[in-house]
Structures are given as C-alpha cells and as structure tokens.
C-alpha cells in the first residue's frame, strides 16, 4: 500500500489533512479527509450566562464571526421565548447582508479566482490573488478592497465593532441606526449591487467563456448526486437570516422543511474512527456510507445547495441570474461541485440587492429595536445560513439563564461527508498508476475541497500563520519514496 498525504496544516483556521492511499500497483485505493477540530469549544460555553454565548461563539472563527453571532442571537431569543421587533430583525439581516457581500467577494477573488483566472495548473507563483490582480487589472483589486471596506463599515455601524459584532442581545439589539447612517448604508448598498453585477460579468467572460473551464466544471470528476439543504422564506426563496431549512433529494424533490427547533428530527451524526469530526446526515433517509444517490443520507449545505433547495431568489436581479444559472447548467438541481463558485456570485447579487431593500425600508431607523424578555429562559435553537452552509446553535439553560448544554453544527461540518467524497473522487480520477503527482494535480485535488470554502474552525492567529502542504508518497511498506512540499 502506498500513501500520499496532503497535509495543509494551518495556524489560521485549524488544520485538515488528506491521506491518499495507493495499492501495490500504484493505483488509487482510498482517501481520507481528516479534520482535527479544536478541542472543547462547546464545553467551554457551558456554565456561562447565555447572552454571553453569541459573543463567545463569534470567536470560534476569524472568518465568519458574524454568522456565529447571528445564529447565537437567534438561539438566545428562543431561549428567552422572545420575538424581536421587525426593526431589530431587519437591522441584524442588514448587517448580515453586508457580511455576505464581504465574505463571498473575498472567496471569489482571492481564493477560487486564481484557479480560474490563472488556470488550475498554472505555476504556484502566479496562481494567487496577486496573479489575478495583474491579469485582470489593478482597478478590480481596488474594487475588491472597496467592497470589503463598505461591508466592514456597515458591520461596525450596526454591530458596534468591525469583524466581531457585539450588539445582538435577547430580544433585539442594543442600538439602532440614524437617518444619516441609513443614507450612507443605502449608498454603499447601491455600489455593492453594481459590484456584484460586475463580478458576474467577469465570471461570464473569464470562466464561462473558456471551454476548458466549462468542461472542468461540468466534468464527472467534481460531480456528486446528493441531497441539498438551505434556508428559505415563506415563499421558498433563498434567505440567509430567517425561515425554515428546506431539504431536497438528488432529483430536486422537496422532502420537507424544518424549523430550527426541529433540527434533531432531520439531522443525525455519524462517528468514524479515523477523524475527530462527526458526519451529519439526513436522519429520515439514513446513513448508507459515503455514497451518492436518493437512498444515501449524505447532504450538502453550500451556496449551490441553497439554490438547489429553494424555488428562486427573492430579489429581481438575482432571480434573473438564478434562471440563467440553471438554464446554462442543464436544469435543477445542479450537482457539479465547482458550480458552487458561480452560485456564490448569484448569492452575492442577492445579498447586495437585499442590503438596499432593507436600507430603504421606512422602519429601519425606528427606535423600536428591542423587546425586553419577560419569560424564564429554557432552551432554544437558532439557525442562519453561514456563507459555507447552514449553521445551527442549540443552547439549554437553567432557570437563571446559565448554560447547561451547547451544541453547534457549523457550516463545514454539514459538508464533511460530501467533502470526503469529493476529494476521494478527484484523487481517484487524477492519480493513476504511473502518474507523477505534480503540483498541478495536487491543486486539482485541492480544488475539490476549496469549492466548499471549508472552515476548520478557530480563530487562532499565532504566527507564522502558514498552510504548508505536504504530499508524501509511501511504498507498499509504508516507507516514504517521494515527498512533495509546499512551504513547509
């Protein structure tokens, strides 16, 4: 048995590791995508005043603290049995739209972009955000930074701080916004809509205009036919902040929708001996292993899943892009994982349009931004769509509001089984007997999991903050015969 190990150890977002095993002939035998999670976060949150938890959980991860803050805030509302006023819900959602625009922009331009703009097998020295900026122009780089700046400004205005918001409390928010702030937010929102349209145009020209990339996206290597989940509003349109979670099968048939407090009826977790992280699956379908199909409970929760699980987008420009997405890719649902990147841009446009909608609502500047809780705290579940997938926070407290149990199912955890299958399939197709495992091939395996934008969950930023990649090929005795190293 030979072994190839892809070990992206990072101090920034925890670390994951891919082990690829070859048989005696040198053909692919199996692969495992391991995620050693940070230890003890849920335990760390026990014994706290429950309203502290949305502040604590937003430090699980430096990438999407806003998502944890929102899911946590909703869970705390539920714990206190309090329904925030419309203005509070809209302000939270507005903050969240600004966050989505920031996050999706970063992923498209800095992370997925290099593979498409520079090419999946381009030399590493060029296949990065700097290469993208050089190729498509400095002006675009400036726009990306501008989009992020606007997003952070809105987050700070509503959330009290850049990056790690802290204003959501049981029943609403600690503060509202002024008319001057509203005008500023609206102006930035209009800019964001134009930027999102521009980004979709860029995708059209660079990716969809290139047959090689289209073939790569549509090819079998990056395709899996699984179930999909995503939050929808009462009209079954995609919603990131509120609603029910829609579940569709691989043929696109809706199996049902669940409210946050019903999640345990739908989601169960499978434990495998070779990894720390559990594999969630659809309880009503059942665990049949890491396989595709209607009979397998494996599901995905990503931008593509949200589009697949919904009937459309709630804003006009995004709806038009939604229709174009499915007509180009051959109808619903779309199973090609690399289409997640395109779906992300459809969502970017929706988030920007929704930003403007909320900023122009007459009640957004109302002073009615909190309902004071009056009931005893017990138990509550909050769900939002994090950029990487459905995020569930479940808190139980004693009658004083001290947490006795905390359960979190984070975006990437949902996708763990699907990620395992995707990396396996990519490796299986790309690494064959006699194949020299080049950096380009390694990157194409990486692309299989990068499309999910997986988050390994933490916000440790101790230096040197690197993500070395090590590929070790072992012979049948387990001895290393070839080592490919990237930055380690």
């Amino acid at each position: 048995m030979q072994r190839i190990s892809i070990d992206p150890v990072t101090r920034l977002e925890g670390h994951g590791k891919i082990d690829i095993f070859l048989d005696d002939e040198g053909n692919f035998a199996n692969s495992y995508f391991q995620i050693p999670e940070l230890r003890g976060f849920e335990r760390f949150c026990v014994g706290r005043q429950v309203e502290e938890v949305p502040i604590l959980t937003n430090r699980i991860c430096g990438v999407c603290p806003e998502a944890h803050h929102m899911a946590g805030a909703k869970a705390v509302d539920a714990v206190y049995h309090v329904d925030p006023p419309r203005t509070a819900k809209m302000l939270r959602e507005l903050l969240y739209m600004a966050f989505y625009c920031t996050d999706h922009t970063t992923h498209f331009y800095a992370l997925a972009g290099p593979d498409y703009v520079m090419g999946p097998t381009a030399p590493v020295a060029e296949r990065n955000i700097l290469g993208v900026i050089h190729k498509v122009g400095l002006e675009i780089g400036g726009k990306v930074i501008q989009m992020r700046k606007y997003g952070h400004e809105v987050i700070e205005m509503i959330g009290g701080r850049k990056v790690h918001p802290c204003t959501s409390i049981p029943g609403g928010l600690t503060k509202g916004i002024t008319e001057e702030q509203r005008q500023e937010i609206e102006k930035m929102g209009h800019w964001a809509v134009e930027f999102a349209q521009f980004s979709l145009q860029l995708l059209n020209e660079i990716v969809l205009g290139n047959k090689e990339y289209v073939d790569l996206i549509l090819g079998d290597i990056y395709t899996h036919r699984t179930h999909y989940i995503g939050m929808v509003d009462e009209n079954n349109k995609v919603n990131f902040y509120d609603g029910k979670v829609s579940v569709v099968d691989p043929e696109g048939t809706r199996l049902g929708k669940y409210a946050p407090n019903e999640y345990t009826d739908w989601i169960a977790e499978r434990v495998e001996p070779w990894t720390y992280l559990k594999f969630p699956y659809l309880k009503k379908v059942g665990w049949k292993g890491f396989v595709d199909g209607k009979e397998s409970g494996v599901y995905m929760a990503t931008p593509l899943s949200r589009l697949n699980a919904a009937d459309g987008m709630a804003t006009p420009l995004a709806q038009a892009e939604y229709e174009r997405f499915y007509s180009t890719l051959g109808g619903k649902p779309v199973h090609q994982r690399l289409a997640i990147n395109w779906a992300r841009l459809v969502e970017l446009l929706y988030a920007a349009e929704r930003w403007v909608e909320l900023a122009t609502d007459p009640e957004i500047t109302s002073d009615n931004f909190r309902t004071i809780p009056t009931e005893k705290p017990t138990e509550g579940v909050g769900i939002v769509e994090a950029p990487r997938g459905t995020l569930t926070h479940h808190y139980t407290t004693d009658e004083r509001g001290i947490t006795t149990k905390v359960n979190l199912i984070v975006g990437t955890t949902n996708n763990y089984a699907s990620l395992q299958m995707s990396t396996k399939k990519a490796a299986q197709n790309l690494i064959k007997k006699g194949t020299e495992v080049t950096e380009g091939i390694l990157n194409m395996v990486e692309m299989a999991f990068r499309a999910y934008d997986p988050c390994f969950g933490c916000a440790t930023h101790s230096l040197p903050g690197q993500m070395p990649l090590e590929v070790t090929i072992h012979d049948a005795n387990g001895d290393p015969i070839q080592v490919l190293k990237q930055y380690c």
């Binding site: 990072t10 101090r11 003890g40 430090r59 933490c458 101790s462 903050g465």
Partner: protein, 161 residues
C-alpha cells in the same frame, strides 16, 4: 506620525490571547506616546492588512510557535524577516498571509506602514479553549511591554532586537 499597536490573537484560545493582554496592559499604563493607537484584533491576512491602512508604523504583538526557544521568550523582528512560507499560495483556505496581503496593498497603492515590527511571545497552548495564559507566557508580559514601549519611544529607528 501615526503608529498602530495591534494586539493580535484569539483571547479565548489560551496563549493565543497574549497579544491582546500585552496591548491592553500597555493602554492601561497611560504612557503611550501621542499619535499611537492600540487595537485588539482576531483576524489575519487581508483583514489585518486593511486595519494597518493609514498608519506610518505598526507594531504587531502576537503569540508564536517556533518550538526553538523556551516558552515565554519575547522576540522582535521586522515583518519582512518573518518567513512567509505561504508566499504565492493560500495560507489558509479563506485568506492569505499578511505578507501576501501587504504586497496586494502596495500594488493597489494603499497607504501602508513603511515599517512593521512583530513582537512575538513563544506560546505553549494555542489549541485549547481557555481564557487563561500559561504561567510562562503570562510571566513574559512585562518584557513584551518593555520592548514595545522602547520601540515606540524610539519611533523604531530600526532598533528592534
């Protein structure tokens, strides 16, 4: 001249909170020279670079894991002297390294500090959730403060240790 002091790290991830702690104590001394701002951040890469925009100099205080010096050792060095193993590649699946981000900022003509010094404290526990620092790391706070204040009063003058 505007200088930014960044306390970097995650305050609930054990020794990774050392950067915050030092920055906080520095602010509490009330001895910071004029023109010095202090922030606490739990971000990296592009976001960290963005927070430096508009400053002439910057000091970043952070935990480090070299496994080559005793826990609690305080060092300081120029950012460019810190290896950027991720150069040209993703340093994480969501972000890039600070060095890459700085390069992007320069290419985009953002006003970034012309000198960035990292003050690092060798850490022990950074993978367990805790608000406590380990004893050795906690004991390094005065030394980290001394070095930071010295650098600030010298306006750096390339006098990092």
């Amino acid at each position: 001249m505007k200088t930014l002091v960044v306390g970097l790290g995650n305050p609930i991830l054990g020794d990774d909170g050392i950067g915050w702690r030092v920055a906080q104590k520095l602010q509490d001394t009330g001895k910071l020279p004029p023109g010095v701002d202090v922030v606490y951040l739990a971000v990296g890469g592009i976001s960290l670079m963005e927070s430096l925009v508009g400053y002439d100099k910057a000091l970043i205080i952070d935990a480090i894991n070299t496994n080559q010096v005793p826990v609690g050792t305080v060092s300081s060095f120029l950012l460019e002297d810190l290896a950027s193993p991720s150069a040209g590649h993703l340093s994480s699946v969501h972000d890039t390294s600070l060095q890459n981000a700085m390069q992007i900022g320069h290419e985009l003509n953002l006003k970034l500090p012309d000198e960035i010094i990292v003050i690092s404290i060798e850490a022990m526990k950074i993978y367990d959730f805790s608000e406590e620092l380990s004893t050795e790391v906690s004991a390094a706070i005065p030394e980290a403060m001394r070095i930071t204040l010295e650098l600030l009063s010298s306006h750096f003058l390339d006098s990092h240790e």
